[in-house]
């Protein structure tokens, strides 16, 4: 996947999330799922589509990333490299989680359990498309001026964590 690359081992760059959003929107349209999220293995939301207002996507991303990583360890203990799909079945809502090209996870939330076959098919197609998204030729690495970024961030930190009076 061209998405979540390491740059000199120092940062994770997500260069092309508008494409991801479009792919997720197609997935929602074709599968009639409720929500789709694309998240990094570190638990950060890269893109989302469908209904998202009801959902704390940040918390879901952190939890799903932890769950997927834990499941990978379970897989290793039973002699597998990893389980590429996780399915959580609820009473009204269900979650289909799949690994996308080893770099990210796609979370699809849906309500009609009879559509599980369609969901799996559409998720597989979306994962293939996501894997084909190309890196932009010249990522906008210059948009952050590091000295300024650090100076302002350190100022904000000082203001946010002022010591409390005893």
């Amino acid at each position: 996947m061209a998405t979540v690359g390491h740059l000199n081992g120092r940062a994770i760059i997500a260069p092309d999330s508008p494409s991801y959003g479009r792919i997720l929107e197609d997935l929602i349209k074709n599968s009639q799922a409720l929500t789709a999220l694309l998240i990094t293995k570190q638990g950060t939301v890269l893109a989302k589509a469908g209904e998202t207002d009801y959902l704390n996507a940040t918390a879901v991303a952190a939890l799903v990333a932890g769950m997927f990583t834990a499941t990978r360890e379970v897989a290793r203990l039973v002699g597998e490299n990893q389980f590429s799909i996780l399915l959580q079945q609820g009473e009204l809502r269900h979650i289909h989680i799949s690994l996308v090209a080893g770099d990210a996870m796609m979370v699809v939330i849906f309500e009609d359990n009879n559509r599980i076959g369609l969901i799996r098919h559409c998720a597989k197609k979306a994962a293939e498309r996501l894997g084909e998204v190309a890196l932009p030729a010249a990522p906008e690495f210059d948009t952050i001026s590091l000295p300024k970024f650090k100076e302002y961030a350190l100022n904000l930190i000082d203001r946010l964590f002022e010591p409390q009076p005893e």
Binding site: H6, L7, N8, G9, R10, A11, I12, I13, A14, P15, D16, S17, P18, T40, K41, Q42, G43, T44, L46, N56, T58, A59, A62, L63, G66, T69, A70, E73, P139, E140, F141, T143, I144, S145, L146, K148, F149, K150, Y152, A153, L154, L156, I157, D158, L160, F161, E162, P163, Q164, E166
Partner: protein, 193 residues
Amino acid sequence: MPYIGFHNKEVSFKIVYYGPGMSGKTTNLVHIHKNLRPDRKGEMVMLDTDEERTLFFDFFPLELGQVEGFSVRFNMYTVPGQSYYEASRKLVLDSADGVVFVADSRAERLQENLDAYKQLLEQLESLGMDPHSFPVVLQYNKRDCGNLIPVGTLESKFNLNGIPVFESVAQTGKGVMETVRKVTQMVVTKFEI
């Protein structure tokens, strides 16, 4: 390692509170969460057992604000302290940008502190991080208890020259904000693209 989203204009870092069981990692996070303005924090997620021990991790996103057009966030995690959750601790520690080691200052917990710090060093190394240059802040918690481990014990045992050290009572909040301020400063200072 930090995450940079150029299209959604977001930079996020991961801070992990590490330490032996019942040393006060969750209490630190709860205090920070309670004392932040509502617009600076997301919901706190706690995955604990019936005995209120952390089972996998506690988590909340801390929003620093807008910097150079980017939303800057610290994702705050704790690890489970009990020794049998070693595998879970390593999973949470993966891709961390900074660590607060919360030591239990009671003298009878010395060995647990030493074991946990040794494991932190081993896990950082096994995750490909250099424990000597990695941002770590040492917090001696529970300084209101009797029979305390002297500050300097872990530093001399593990040759932690220059490591920032704070004494705290997380239950009352003493030393908590100073600790989080230091670790976030260190993480931002070390940030590179």
